[in-house]
């Protein structure tokens, strides 16, 4: 983003404050790598005042029930040695900051890992238990917990170094016009954000608020399931949650939100 635009955006007061405490940056200057957008905006800004209000109070936010479930799960024994997340990570707060920098390059594996992949690495390789379903309730609630302890921190995923080829792949997917409707992510979320598409107020399709509790389906929604839904809506063959394509897309879309606050679990319609 240009410097002139940046000052205007920074000077703004926080619109979203959770529990009167956690200040969430919902508008920020676009990161330098974004060519066609000068300001990045959280999806929260495009929701109705009623929906917005639900996210401002953790007692009202139904996504926090999932967070509580995961908090209990954090110390539950699993695997042959009765390992638990807590055995290695003390408490969820010790994972503060992780959400903000994932997806992230993993040196040992030689690949970009999402937070879900990291958790499953711990579940299978460290605790010796069976992998959790990538977008299942247990996983999504655990991701919501890990997000919740990072709320207010700026999203800051790395796109250079060894992660760069994956980032480039994600960018290409973002601009590819898939399906019989020949629509790319960019057609809706870059060219038309803030416009109505039938009854939907289009946002920038940011993922800083994931997992999102959607009033429409009454549950926490994993980011790859949202991607899947948007691709399906172009009458295209989707990619699978956890696939290399969606991992790359997640890194790219996350990087479009560098500078917004971690917001998950957010509330959307």
């Amino acid at each position: 983003g240009s410097a002139a635009l940046a000052t205007g955006a920074i000077a703004q007061e926080a619109n979203l404050v959770i529990d009167g405490e956690i200040e969430i940056v919902t508008r920020a200057p676009a990161p330098d790598h974004m060519e066609n957008v000068s300001e990045i905006v959280s999806g929260w800004e495009y929701r109705s005042p009623e929906t917005q209000a639900v996210q401002m109070d953790d007692f009202e936010n139904p996504g926090m029930i999932g967070v509580d479930n995961a908090r209990a799960d954090f110390s539950a024994a699993m695997g042959p040695d009765g390992q638990s997340c807590a055995a290695c990570h003390d408490n969820p707060e010790s994972l503060e900051g992780a959400r903000a920098v994932y997806p992230k390059w993993d040196e040992t594996k030689g690949e970009v890992q999402t937070l879900e992949m990291q958790v499953n690495e711990c579940v299978t390789e460290r605790a010796g238990a069976e992998a959790w379903n990538y977008t299942g309730t247990r996983m999504t609630e655990m991701i919501a917990l890990i997000s919740s302890v990072s709320r207010g921190l700026p999203v800051n995923v790395a796109i250079d170094g060894p992660a760069q080829p994956t980032w480039e792949q994600g960018k290409e997917i973002y601009y590819t016009r898939y399906g019989q409707l020949e629509l790319a992510c960019a057609n809706c979320h870059e060219d038309n954000y803030d416009n109505m598409i039938r009854a939907d107020h289009l946002s920038q399709g940011q993922i800083n608020g994931f997992p999102t509790y959607r009033l429409k389906n009454g549950k926490l929604n994993a980011v790859h399931n949202r991607f899947k839904g948007c691709v399906r809506d172009t009458r295209a063959q989707t990619f699978a949650p956890g696939s290399p394509e969606f991992v790359a897309l997640e890194l790219y879309v996350a990087s479009r939100g560098n500078g917004l606050s971690v917001e998950g679990p957010s509330v959307r319609n």
Binding site: L183, A199, A236, T238
Partner: protein, 158 residues
């Protein structure tokens, strides 16, 4: 009209329709994207066209376009320009070309091609998310396109 007679007329209509229909792959677009003759070989029905434009499962044109004359239909989109007065801006042949494949008139447009069946990236089987096999069914049939075009031709600036 006797019942038998109606039936006979319908049969005749169907058979002429089938003969004159232009398949999606065979449409001749003009230099600027217009299509001169009816795709179905028959005239369009504007009332049916209005319905197709509003229906989510069919054209769903109001997802992107506001249409003043359809204001009883809820939630018109803003992705495309309002279609009021479109009959004053375009000829019937041009409108037919825009509805069949708007990319021939507006290169790179976001507007989907409603009478195109091949050449997609990862084409799906409808909205199932599963792979589809080309040629796909077009989004609208030849006759539905004619119906929509005949409705668009009624949209004059008052």
């Amino acid at each position: 009209m006797s019942r038998q007679f109606t039936l006979a007329v319908t049969v005749v209509l169907i058979s002429t329709t089938v003969q004159a229909e232009v398949a999606p792959q065979e449409v001749a677009y003009g230099e600027y994207g217009a299509i001169d003759t009816s795709l179905s070989g028959a005239p369009g029905d504007p009332a049916s066209g209005a319905e197709i434009m509003a229906n989510r499962g069919q054209g769903n044109c109001v997802a992107c376009h506001a249409v003043g004359a359809l204001d009883e239909v809820p939630f018109h989109g803003e992705v495309g320009p309002p279609l009021d007065g479109v009959a004053d801006r375009w000829s019937e042949a041009e409108l037919r070309g825009i509805v069949a494949n708007a990319k021939m008139t507006f290169p790179g447009t976001i507007m989907p091609a409603f009478y195109k069946t091949t050449g997609f990236i990862r084409p799906g089987d409808g909205f199932s998310g599963k792979a589809g096999t080309e040629p796909l069914e077009p989004l609208l049939t030849a006759q539905q396109i004619e119906d929509v075009v005949s409705y668009l031709m009624t949209l004059h600036e008052n």
